[in-house]
Every structure is written in structure tokens, then in C-alpha cells.
């Protein structure tokens, strides 16, 4: 089966899902499972035809190993999340539309990753943006969809400009050729680099475009947030990747001023990634809504991915590519487990839940493994990719980026622990005492993602071998892999060995624990309370503003969204002024003034 057919069948699945949902929405939702699983399997089988090119109508595709890698990540997020869809049909206003757009956006991402020319890239890109914007507004807030759409539009328009500018300079739309031809025009190349990468930055949620993530992730339907964070955000990473590989940024900017070997335009983008890490971490720490918290963590992780990819070296780049997989898997799993809790309790506010571990132990374990990976703790995948990024940064001596990377990494312990403690640990609320674990159909995708997190952490080389192919395809020195070991110039990591030793430690501790006298089980409410009598479970649960002393330190920090609002008000005022000048009492005066100014400019221009 070739790529054309995969995309056509996916779109056909989308239409079929729409029609079926009109009759029976649950059956339509099962179509999304079937459609996404179909795409996952067929794209996986495309492995053998990598290197071929296909044309279809106006679209030209190029089966690269990079596209294959990215689409598998994306389709994993889509197909695993699809298992949740049937259970959310009752909560959506337009179930048929949801199912249709779910599969349509999925088909769109495939087109983006395999695009050979800009037109294909742009058309499919916009398909994804539009269809996901319509899904987001089915959630809690329409405002979120507006913000998402406006930010995406800014990115898309910038990219369109870059595409047209590159076409005007080199006369071709084929991505590789158009960008390679820019080598003779460094001035134009800077403009094109910055505008082209803008769409990617907007999608991946890099500062100052990060404002859409918390609102969109936080208020999208619970079944779409995992796709947004685990999948769609990675489209931005793909564009960032194009802007340093297809667009030979390092070659074109090599004569410019640089900081430790990184040309300033690229370093500037990496610095934005670093700001995202810090801003995302600080904001995530103070969220009260579990989904918003995870959304801000996506901002921070987007920063890691961007820094890793833009390094374009042997180690850091591999770390960035690896982090795409790890973050997709971990974040999808975390969002799904929060969705599972919300399915039972009806809320994602952390202060309204507690002690869910005693009702939903499997969901708890899924969340635990996901956050271990997300915080970059061995033996899960997130550690391997962060390790590679740290090694890459240390090798180059990029001290400021490294400082922020460390901050984000330790800061992630703080924020991932909050939902763990507030939602799953502590006292179970009275109204939740009778809640049950979710059914197997919902548990299945969560367990698969959990196993994937473990797999990437224990046998990272399975994934890194593909990364090696990608690096070779771009003509870079690939990361060195031995049997189980990753070798860098600064050291090596044998993830399997770390896992085994961890198991050894755990086994000793377990034996020690078991041979000691069995402990008496007591009720959760039976705790030390300084001689107070507290009988309300809710009062004995500490979850609101968990890091209050720390949050106090930066409570006065400016809010980007507020700055945008202020700017909007100013622009509005400016418009009103112009309007009153031209359509006020004496328009003739304004016209004369403008004409006079134009005249002065012309004369001044002539004299100079």
C-alpha cells in the first residue's frame, strides 16, 4: 500500500465516520479507532518504500525517514487516544463533526510530514489547523479556539510569506531546492529563516506564541488534549527541523557573528526555547487545573525539543529527536490518565479531587510512569533524551541554555508531582468513595503508552537507530551506538544496565520490607492531627497552592496574555484615532496633512 492510498483511505474513514455518527455516534467513534489504527499500521509498513516519491493531483510527496518517524509518533498519539472517543460521545455537542475532524486532521498531518513541496506542506498544514480549531471549540471555551486560531494564523501567514519570498528568490517550490538556492542571499535568508520557523514556533508553543497551549489544551475536549499535546505540537518540531536541515541555516549564517559556534539567528531561536522552558515551568508550578498544568509542561518540553533540534550536532540533535517520541508518549499518557479521572469525577480541577489512587490504581500507575518519563528520571525514556541534550550542551559549552535546561528539569519534579499528590494521593473525597476504575477498553491505550515509556527508557537504541538514519540522511555525523550503549564524546549511557541495577536495589528493599513484621493497616483519616478532631476528609487534604512560598516569589511576573490584551487595546485606539481623523468633522484637514507629509518625504528623498 502506498502513501496516497493511506491518505485517501484515512479521509474516506473520516467521511464514513461522519455518516455513521449521524446514525449512531458510538459506532462512529469506533470508526475513529479503526481509521487511526489502520493508518498507524500502514504507515509503519511503509518503512520499506522509504526514498520513493509519489505525486497525486497537485500534491507531491517524498517518503523520507524523517517523515516516517514523525508520522509514527503522531499516529501513536492519535490511535491511542481514539480508544477514549466512544466514551465521550455523549458529552460532545457535535459528535459526528468531532469524529470527522479527528480523522481529517490525522490525514492532514501525514501530508505535512511527507510533503515534497511547499504547496503540499501548506495545504495539509492548514487542513490540520482548521480541523483542530473546530474540535477545540467543542470543549469548554470558544475563547480558547480563537486564541489557538489567531496564533496559528500568525504562524501560517509568516510561513506563507517565507514560502513566497523563497519562491521569488529561487523560482521553485520544492522544499530542498528552494532553500538550497538561498545561499547567495544571506540578507533574504535571515528574513526567510525567521518567518519560516515562526509557524513551527507557534505550533510547538515557543515563547511568545505559547499562550494558545494552556487555553487550548486546558479546554479542548478531554479526548483531544492528548492528541494536541502528544501529537500536533510535534508538527512545530517538524518545521523547526526543516528550517535547519532543508534550509541549511548553519551554512548560510556561517559568516555571521556567533556564540560558541552557533550563528546568532539560530542562537536567538534557541534562546526563545530557553525562555519557554523557564516560563512554562514557572507557570506550570502554579496552575490549579491538571490539564492546564500539563499544557504548560508541554511549553517547557517544546523548549527542550527546539534547543535539541537546532543544535544540529551529533548528540544534542539526537536528544531532540528522541525527546519528540518521549514527550509524545509521556504527555499523551498523562493527559489520558487525567481524562480517565475526569471521566469518573467530572472535573480536572486539582483542588476538587483527592486520593483517587484507592479507587483507580491502574490509572495512577499510568500517570506515575508518565511523569517519571516527563521529569527525565531513569529508567524511563525522558531521561535518555534529556541526558543526550545535556551532553550536547555540555560539549558545546552553552552555559546559559544549560542553566535554563537544568531549571526546567528540576522544576518539572515540582509540577508533575502536584497532580500526583493532589489528584491521586491524600484523602479520598467523600463523593468519590464509590468511584470505580475505568474499563479495559480505556485502560488498554494507557497501558500501551506506559510500556512504550519504559521501552524508550530501557532500550533507547531501538528508537535511536532510526534517529541515526535521519542524521545520516541529513549528512550529519550520527550519534554513536553500541549494543545497548549510547556513546558521546563526554561519556556513555547504558540504559539497560541502569534499569537492572535499579531493579536490584528495589529487590533488596522489597525483601527487607517483607521480612520485617507486617504493619497494621489503618484508615487514611487515622492520622496525626495535633490533637485536633477533623472528620471532614476534604479538610484534611492539602492541594491548593501547593508551592505557595515559591509562587510568591514570582507572583508579580508579567502575564503574556495580559500584554497581548494591552497591545490589542492600543491598536484599537490607534484605529479609532485614524477613523476619527478621516471621518471626523474636518476630513479635508487630515487629507491635506497626509499629502503634505508625502510631499516632504518625496522631496527629502530626492535631495538625499
Amino acid at each position: 500500500m502506498n502513501l496516497n492510498l493511506v491518505i485517501i483511505v484515512s479521509v474516506a474513514f473520516a467521511i464514513a465516520a461522519y455518516l455513521v455518527s449521524k446514525v449512531n455516534d458510538k459506532a462512529g467513534a469506533f470508526m475513529t479507532v479503526a481509521g487511526s489504527m489502520f493508518a498507524l499500521v500502514t504507515v509503519f509498513l511503509l518503512r520499506n518504500s522509504i526514498g520513493s516519491e509519489i505525486s497525486f493531483l497537485y500534491f507531491n510527496f517524498n517518503l523520507t525517514v524523517t517523515g516516517w518517524y514523525f508520522s509514527l509518533v503522531m499516529l501513536t498519539a492519535y490511535s491511542m487516544t481514539a480508544f477514549f472517543n466512544p466514551f465521550w460521545m455523549k458529552k460532545l455537542i457535535y459528535p459526528a463533526g468531532y469524529n470527522f475532524l479527528y480523522l481529517l486532521s490525522m490525514a492532514g498531518t501525514l501530508g505535512v510530514f511527507f510533503a515534497k513541496d511547499f504547496i503540499t506542506l501548506f495545504v495539509f498544514w492548514e487542513t490540520v489547523v482548521w480541523s483542530s480549531a473546530f474540535i477545540i471549540q467543542m470543549g469548554k471555551s470558544r475563547q480558547a479556539a480563537y486564541v489557538y486560531y489567531v496564533i496559528s494564523a500568525i504562524g501560517s501567514m509568516a510561513t506563507l510569506f517565507a514560502i513566497m519570498f523563497a519562491y521569488g528568490t529561487t523560482g521553485t517550490f520544492v522544499i530542498n531546492e528552494a532553500f538550497k538556492g538561498l545561499a547567495g542571499y544571506p540578507g533574504r535568508a535571515i528574513v526567510i529563516f525567521i518567518t519560516f520557523i515562526a509557524a513551527g514556533m507557534a505550533k510547538i508553543g515557543i515563547f511568545p506564541f505559547h499562550v494558545w497551549l494552556p487555553s487550548a489544551h486546558g479546554s479542548a475536549p478531554h479526548t483531544f488534549s492528548p492528541v494536541l499535546s502528544g501529537g500536533l505540537v510535534k508538527m512545530g518540531a517538524f518545521v523547526a527541523l526543516l528550517s535547519v536541515t532543508a534550509f541549511p541555516a548553519y551554512e548560510i549564517f556561517k559568516d555571521m557573528a556567533s556564540f560558541r559556534g552557533i550563528p546568532l539567528p539560530i542562537y536567538f531561536m534557541m534562546a526563545l526555547g530557553a525562555i519557554s522552558i523557564v516560563a512554562g515551568t514557572l507557570m506550570a508550578i502554579k496552575q490549579e487545573d491538571a490539564k492546564k498544568l500539563l499544557a504548560y509542561s508541554s511549553v517547557a518540553n517544546g523548549g527542550y525539543i527546539l534547543i535539541g533540534l537546532l543544535m544540529l550536532d551529533q548528540v544534542g540533535f539526537a536528544g531532540g529527536m528522541m525527546h519528540i517520541v518521549n514527550h509524545a508518549v509521556a504527555s499523551a499518557a498523562a493527559f489520558l490518565s487525567i481524562a480517565a479521572v475526569a471521566y469518573r469525577t467530572g472535573t480536572t480541577k486539582m483542588s476538587e479531587m483527592g486520593g483517587m489512587i484507592h479507587r483507580m490504581p491502574v490509572t495512577y500507575l499510568v500517570y506515575l510512569i508518565a511523569i517519571i518519563s516527563m521529569a527525565g528520571i531513569p529508567p524511563m525514556g525522558g531521561f535518555v533524551s534529556k541526558w543526550l541534550i545535556f551532553q550536547g550542551l555540555a560539549d558545546k559549552g552553552l552555559i546559559f541554555l544549560a542553566t535554563t535546561a537544568f531549571f526546567g528539569s528540576i522544576g518539572s519534579f515540582l509540577y508533575v508531582f502536584r497532580p500526583l499528590s493532589a489528584v491521586f494521593l491524600g484523602q479520598t473525597f467523600t463523593r468519590d468513595l464509590e468511584k470505580k476504575e475505568v474499563g479495559f477498553f480505556m485502560m488498554f491505550p494507557m497501558l500501551i503508552l506506559t510500556l512504550l515509556s519504559l521501552l524508550t527508557g530501557v532500550f533507547p537504541n531501538i528508537f535511536l537507530r532510526v534517529v541515526v538514519e535521519i542524521q545520516s540522511a541529513f549528512g550529519m555525523l550520527p550519534v554513536t551506538l553500541a549494543e545497548n550503549t549510547i556513546v558521546t564524546s563526554n561519556g556513555f549511557l547504558d540504559a539497560f544496565r541502569v534499569f537492572i541495577v535499579f531493579g536490584f536495589g528495589f529487590a533488596i528493599a522489597f525483601v527487607l520490607f517483607v521480612i520485617r513484621r507486617k504493619s497494621r493497616k489503618v484508615e487514611l483519616m487515622d492520622t496525626f492531627t495535633s490533637a485536633e478532631f477533623i472528620h471532614t476528609r476534604e479538610l484534611l487534604h492539602y492541594s491548593h497552592s501547593f508551592y505557595a512560598p515559591f509562587e510568591r516569589l514570582y507572583e508579580k511576573a508579567p502575564d503574556t496574555m495580559k500584554l497581548y490584551h494591552k497591545a490589542a487595546v492600543k491598536i484599537n485606539e490607534l484605529g479609532n484615532m485614524a477613523e476619527s481623523a478621516f471621518f471626523g468633522i474636518r476630513p479635508a484637514r487630515t487629507v491635506l496633512l497626509v499629502m503634505g507629509m508625502v510631499l516632504i518625504v518625496i522631496i527629502a528623498g530626492g535631495v538625499l
Partner: protein, 306 residues
């Protein structure tokens, strides 16, 4: 990685436990003398641990137990990664990032177990502990980053060996003095010594992570604390004080540094947790970055320079 490695690892755990617990006992005496008390006997710490292990305990559900096991397991695994005077239980696992992040498994387990007890005081303690970690770890990591850049190695053992054979001035503490001072300050934070002890709150038992522990759970926490102390002090000894050519040299340096932190702790007041964060981000972080810039841009400190 054969059976012999696991045997070495097991023996190492045993010896580390005996060594560190003895040292803790001796240091209780040192602290007591600072406060003009007589102090407990040197083996009192052993008695405390074994007494706790023998007593009845209560459990607040499976995550309360599981967290304790995960914490001790993770910490013990980390101990076996620490190179001691050229000895490594598992060769090739002493990467500094592996050690500092594997340590986090133990901390996560501890935090999970404490929050799982259902006592809000424990959760407050955990929140403080994590905030404290965010404070001390960034300056320390920046210094370690500088060191990896300077010596092209992230292996703790190699970094220690590179400082040996050049006399006392070969130690990174003297080659990178600002970084060395940062590391010792960060060590105070890691160990939970004053002025950075507000998260353990040893003087107010009822408002720290330990509030619900008793019996074998508390015993586990004591053992865990000894192991964690060993990891943290060993990291600094290996990275900044040249490790040890022989085991005796290593133990001597270790004992001196550990006692030094206790003496500092004995005469210090306590920071509130947000004050600790402010302090670490103002002074040590600035020092760490200046040290890093000096090393990266001038090369001063890579070789012995005075």
C-alpha cells in the same frame, strides 16, 4: 555485569551503611559538644535504626508502603553507582547525570509515600523539600556542567582521577574556587543542614514529611537518609576534592567534609524556604555562572593555575 558485580554491590551497601551510620553517630556527639551537651554514644544511631525496625508500624495503604520500598530501592541502586577510590561496583555507570537523576527516583518514592499517608503536614513538607531541591540543584548543576565542558568527561570516577597526583592544588575546589564554594553550599542544602533544613523540620516533628512514619517505615527512612548522605557527600568529594587514591584517604576526606557541614549546621539559624530559594538564586547561582564563563571563555581552571 556478572554475579560478582552484584556481590560487590551488596557488600558495598553494607559497608557504606556501617561507615555512614557510625559517622552520623560521631557527628551527633560533635553537635552536642558544640551545644555544650555530653551527647549520645557513637553507636546510638545504630540502636535507633534497629529499634525502629523492630517496632510495630502502621500503614496507610499500599502506596505508603510502595513509596518507601521504591525510595530505598532507588537510593540503594544509586549508591552502587558511586565510585569510591577507584572502585566501582558496576563499571561504566558513574555518569554524573545518571547519579543525580537516579537519586530523584528515591526522592520521588519518598514524596509519594509521604503524600500517600493522607496527612496534610507531610504534603507541606514534601512541597518544601522539592522547592529546596529546585534551589540548590541549579547552581550545583551549572558547576558540574562547567566541569564536564572543561574535562570532556561526565564520569564521576574519571573526573576524580583527573585531579589526583598533582597535590592539593589539583583539586577542582582550588582550580575552580567559586564553583567549589557553590558546591559546598549546595551540599548543605542537599543534606538538609542548617540554614537549609526547613523542609525536614527536625525540631517540629509534626510539620515535616516524616510525620506519619513509625516502626519499620521509620527505620527504612533512617537507612535511606544514611545512604542519601553518602551519595551527596561522595559526589562532592569525587568532583571537587579529588576523590581518593586509597580508600583510607577517601574516608578521611569524607569524614572531614561531613563533619564540617555539621559544624556549620550547628551554629546557623534557619532560612524560610522562600528565603533559601532567593539566596541560592542570588549568590551561588551568580557565582556558578561566573565560574562557568571564566572556564569556558578563558580556559582558566582547566589546568592548574596557581
Amino acid at each position: 555485569m556478572g554475579a560478582l558485580n552484584f556481590l560487590y554491590a551488596f557488600l558495598m551497601l553494607l559497608l557504606v551503611f556501617i561507615f555512614q551510620t557510625t559517622l552520623t553517630g560521631l557527628n551527633r556527639k560533635v553537635t552536642a559538644r558544640l551545644q555544650k551537651r555530653y551527647g549520645a554514644r557513637w553507636y546510638q544511631q545504630f540502636l535507633d535504626i534497629f529499634k525502629a525496625l523492630r517496632k510495630d508500624s502502621t500503614s496507610h495503604g499500599w502506596v505508603f508502603d510502595f513509596g518507601v520500598i521504591m525510595a530505598l530501592g532507588g537510593i540503594m541502586a544509586t549508591v552502587t553507582f558511586i565510585p569510591v577510590a577507584g572502585f566501582r561496583a558496576f563499571p561504566g555507570t558513574d555518569n554524573v547525570f545518571v547519579i543525580s537523576y537516579l537519586l530523584a527516583v528515591g526522592m520521588l518514592g519518598m514524596a509519594m509515600s509521604a503524600a500517600g499517608s493522607g496527612n496534610p503536614w507531610a504534603s507541606i513538607g514534601v512541597g518544601r523539600a522539592l522547592t529546596n531541591m529546585l534551589a540548590y540543584d541549579i547552581p550545583l548543576m551549572v558547576v558540574i556542567f562547567t566541569m564536564i565542558f572543561a574535562f570532556d568527561s561526565a564520569s564521576v570516577g574519571q573526573l576524580a582521577e583527573m585531579q589526583q597526583g598533582m597535590g592539593i592544588l589539583g583539586w577542582n575546589f582550588f582550580r575552580m574556587p567559586l564553583g567549589g564554594i557553590v558546591a559546598v553550599i549546595a551540599l548543605l542544602g542537599m543534606l538538609g543542614k542548617k540554614p537549609f533544613d526547613s523542609f525536614i523540620a527536625p525540631a517540629e516533628i509534626a510539620s515535616g514529611p516524616m510525620v506519619e512514619y513509625g516502626g519499620k517505615h521509620l527505620g527504612f527512612m533512617f537507612i535511606l537518609h544514611e545512604f542519601m548522605t553518602f551519595i551527596e557527600v561522595s559526589l562532592i568529594i569525587n568532583l571537587f576534592f579529588g576523590g581518593g587514591a586509597t580508600i583510607w584517604e577517601y574516608m578521611l576526606k569524607y569524614a572531614i567534609l561531613y563533619t564540617f557541614t555539621n559544624i556549620i549546621s550547628g551554629v546557623m539559624p534557619r532560612f524560610k524556604i522562600d528565603q533559601a530559594v532567593k539566596y541560592f538564586y542570588r549568590v551561588p547561582l551568580a557565582m556558578a555562572i561566573i565560574q562557568g564563563l571564566v572556564v569556558i571563555f578563558t580556559g582558566l581552571g582547566v589546568t592548574i593555575w596557581f
